[in-house]
Symmetry: C2
Subunit: 476 residues, 2 copies
């Protein structure tokens, strides 16, 4: 097994310097912002008397890269479609098998494992002061149909490796470190993105919605959860809610899902904000009929209404004038879906995002107006125009940004501040915890398709930065 050493060139003295510089940085932060206490004040932990194991062992931090790649490949095998594609949908057999794999790995890594009522998985490494709010990291491992094996997974298995890196080094955290595997970041099955983290962040709207949510096969969310071993009766889903301040910090490691880091040859992206996502479901209904017998003037084709709206989404997004506005029709379904039958129903799901919330909302309103106009012009019924979610953007916490930056610097890894155009569970964790994200490059920015790829060197870099960031935050 090839070991990529964390920093073979870092002398022991540098690491001692690094740890004292952490306190120096935090002390400066204290001067700048009185709400940030020094480590000593915050925890009563005498950092200046930094235990000798920290200094001794950080010099030998090492990432077991080959083993990590092997785990990524193994996890990818729990898929409903053939390799290299991955399809792992919430609460399906493959999802349950993947969960078992990860919980088993957590156990082997010496973490204490628990799950909440919707299947968010927590693996905890108790710190020296376990009563303090923990520092958390994690991501998701569900995969949309025919996608790749790195999205989310790097932040789950990479977090596990980061913990193992710290353990092997002899490091002992002050605050407990916790890995979270979030349930259903992807909206594939129930149309709800970041289901697990959204609920952890205390969304009462989601709580209510989950009572009646069904998938395309008319299986209820609760039945599906039960099938996977969760939400057994009687269940109170408010038990999933986290209190604000439950964690002292949350850091998510993730592939960029965009081309910037690769194109610029930068190793680490430090995320300062996550773009504001929204999604909409639209249903049109017409009369349908026989494709040969119903003449054109007598038609009200729900499929053509859908086609027109899809093109209108593109038009409104381009009209925003900003490169940062995006909109996508990823789902467009026709009923009955036979070549010789005029579509009597159509269903679209629209995703739109922007770093500017107001500008995104303008696009959503234009899409709504277009749907109304198209329905009127074509004599079809706009049976549904439902805003499924319309989330604000999230800002990373200054303290977490500083920890990620200094970790990158310590490791001599090139890095840049950037925004995340994709949403992540971090968007919702930001509501209950100081949040930050570490991006690594991925091949051509590809994601959500089988060609998605990050090199093991880039993943290893990300794991190193994550490990050091967690170490820094755990000592605060």
């Amino acid at each position: 097994m090839r070991l990529l050493r964390l920093s073979p060139s870092l002398p022991l003295g540098f690491l001692l310097l690094f740890l004292s510089s952490v306190s120096a940085v935090l002390a400066r932060a204290e001067e700048e912002d009185p709400t940030i206490r020094t480590m000593e004040e915050f925890s009563g932990y005498p950092l200046r008397e930094s235990p000798s194991w920290v200094a001794d062992s950080l010099s030998s931090l090492s990432v077991e890269s080959e083993n990590l790649q092997k785990q990524i490949d193994e996890l990818a095998s729990f898929s409903d479609t053939p390799a290299p594609s991955v399809t792992r949908v919430l609460y399906t057999d493959k999802d349950v098998m993947a969960r078992r794999y990860v919980k088993n790995s957590m156990g082997l890594a010496g973490l204490s494992v628990r799950e909440d009522a919707v299947g968010n998985i927590f693996g905890r490494w108790d710190g020296l002061e376990p009563e303090l709010p923990a520092v958390a990291t994690g991501s998701h491992m569900d995969a949309i149909p025919y996608s790749g094996k790195y999205d989310g997974v790097v932040g789950v298995l990479g977090a596990m490796e980061a913990i193992k890196v710290l353990r092997r080094s002899g490091f002992k955290p002050k605050r407990s470190l916790e890995i979270i595997v979030f349930t259903s970041e992807e909206p594939t099955r129930f149309g709800i993105s970041c289901l697990g983290s959204r609920l952890m962040a205390g969304s009462k709207a989601l709580l209510k919605e989950l009572e009646t949510t069904v998938d395309s096969q008319n299986t209820s969310f609760l039945d599906a959860a039960k099938y996977a071993g969760y939400a057994q009766d009687p269940v109170d889903l408010t038990s999933v809610f986290l209190k604000k301040g439950a964690y002292a910090g949350f850091v998510e490691l993730h592939i960029e899902q965009g081309p910037i880091l690769e194109e610029e040859g930068v190793s680490i992206g430090i995320v300062t904000a996550i773009a504001a996502p929204a999604s909409i479901k639209v249903d049109f209904e017409g009369s349908g009929g026989h494709a040969g017998a119903v003449l054109m003037p007598y038609r009200n084709d729900a499929g053509l209404a859908a086609a027109e709206l899809a093109l209108a989404v593109e038009k409104h997004v381009l009209q925003s004038g900003s490169i940062d506005t995006v909109g996508t029709v990823g789902i467009l379904q026709l009923h009955p879906g036979a070549i010789n039958s005029i579509p009597s129903k159509s269903h679209l799901e629209i995703d739109t995002r922007d770093i500017d919330e107001e500008r995104r909302n303008v696009v959503m309103e234009k899409i709504h107006q277009s749907a109304i106009r198209i329905a009127r012009d074509r004599g079809v019924k706009l049976a549904e125009f439902k805003i499924v979610n319309q989330d604000p953007p999230a800002l990373s916490d200054e303290s977490v940004i500083r920890a990620m930056e200094s970790a990158s610097k310590d490791l001599k890894l090139s890095h840049k501040l950037m925004i995340s155009r994709a949403y992540h569970d971090s968007l919702f964790m930001a509501r209950v915890s100081p949040m930050g994200m570490i991006f690594i490059p991925c091949y051509k920015g590809y994601s959500h398709k089988p060609e998605e790829h990050s090199s093991i060197q880039d993943i290893t870099n990300g794991v190193k930065v994550l490990a050091l960031t967690l170490a820094k935050l755990s000592l605060k």
Copy 2:
């Protein structure tokens, strides 16, 4: 059981007159067209010495309407979707059950039943001169997803009732009468319309295609046929081919699938021609990617290419300037089909028809040019543009038209000559037999949806006209 008498007001004398008038009409036809021989010349059958049973019993012809409706309802229960919708797809369990039901009914009606290698079902009533080419009738009973219970079925169960009407009357056919239930008139499963009749008509192109055809689940046609009990090894599908002249005539009873008869209050439509159908499969391929991370200028969205082509189909059809040109995109599928993934593939199936073959071909060429242009403009690949079928129109045979017209007149049923905009197995039977079709009104012209309906009175009228037409043709 309520019996709707065929013609309670028709005196016995009328029927004798009718039969002699048949010969008179045919004699006139003989004068008009030397290729039409008189009944006597054609069959050596002395019609002027019409057997007494014909005259005696036609007066008591009666349709068992309630039983017929009951059978229609029973057959509708073999469906993969809940009532009132019907979904019965080729070679599925429900299709096999429906076939068993119909073969059983044929047996009970005293017909000798056989099936060919692809499951076309034949129920034969031997005539007095069984060595002569028979007169056939029939239709299909497969049903596209979420459709209705009358399309095709009226021409199968109605044919059975027409035979029973003739049997009960004491009528004995000279030529044998045969009911044909065609395999897969609908293209639902393998994308091939009129599979059974197209093959009976001797399509060598289809023969070749069937060797490699698979459905959307990648099940081959031959495996699916075997599953249903057909095409067992070793199979020679040329055994399905009919020789030209195999039948002396073919008549199909069918619901109109258009609104004309109902709107005009006419009981019977006598089809003079069937519009020329064509179908096209199109696949676009783009790069796909993450709906948040890939900015608009870097996209080549296969879904938007499909939406644009769907609207182009509508535009080109309307540009033809004729009410008779129709075009439909009944299937539009996106891959991977997730809200947060840019479609990397799209698949469309396009149906276009016209009574004017040349005009329809112009529309097809314009659709092709649009597909090429859209692919170029959007930077997607036009991975497939396949003309699945491009059939010429079919003309009904003058002799069959005359038989249907005189049957309608004899029964004092209002009738009109019309074209069929929908295609039917008759389109292909016309290649091997003189062909004609009898239309009956259906509610609002609805077809291919659960609301499809024909009143039992209209169906009964159709059965009467069919029975008399078959009687007339059988004596030729």
